[in-house]
Subunit: 150 residues, 2 copies
Amino acid sequence: MKIAIASDHAAFALKAELSAWLAAQGHVVTDLGPDSEASVDYPDYGYKLAAHVAEGKAERGVALCGTGLGISMAVNRNPAVRCAVVSEQLSAYFSRDHNDANVIAMGARMIGIEQAKACLTTFLATPFGGDRHVRRVEKLSNPPFARETA
Amino acid sequence: MKIAIASDHAAFALKAELSAWLAAQGHVVTDLGPDSEASVDYPDYGYKLAAHVAEGKAERGVALCGTGLGISMAVNRNPAVRCAVVSEQLSAYFSRDHNDANVIAMGARMIGIEQAKACLTTFLATPFGGDRHVRRVEKLSNPPFARETA
């Protein structure tokens, strides 16, 4: 699978570890940065990742920051992307089954590496449930706010 | 504090319980629905809540669905709002200190009532940390995507 990954400085080490782990499984991983632990602003990397996924350059995205919260807010500004902040596998499962999430967000200061890998495995393996969820996901692609700012 | 609350059908009972609990503490609570457990679409209620907070009708918002994930995606479509999905207090703390979150999202099927109350207490009591976080929060208010859809 084509997977893009981005973080802030707080999650730089987690990004490196997950990138290598995904690549070792045969995924094609695009690292959108940052490329060091120097302080950066998480919205910049969240927007970059969201655009990458929205343009179809990656099928899934991985967004990492200290808590996963800040970068998830940035990613979810893009109506073409659905980003789920998770810290355990059941939420990762539901994010795919119910919300067709195409980006997973996790917090480098909140969960450990094995939990992160387990969440990511579930996120990548779980199909969208379809059915009644389709209409709701379509509504997420058409927010009233985007039109209001036009 | 003026607090708005909204949910989907899965979190209808949690919404009722948290609304009463907040009101008993002296908060002015506006319940934006739904008003029964009949099936609804979480984006409709997320958008309604986000607009309410963005328009200054409430200082904070509480967004509830089965996992907290779906409704948080909807709320975060609005660039004026910062919605944090949390399942424990430390994330609730950081969502305020780092991200100046004005909406908290929680999952009725994921956490129990006392954990939800504890997260909400922390969310309401924690001030924004300011400093380096100000620039990042400002970037969350000015996503490139909103302009692209103009």
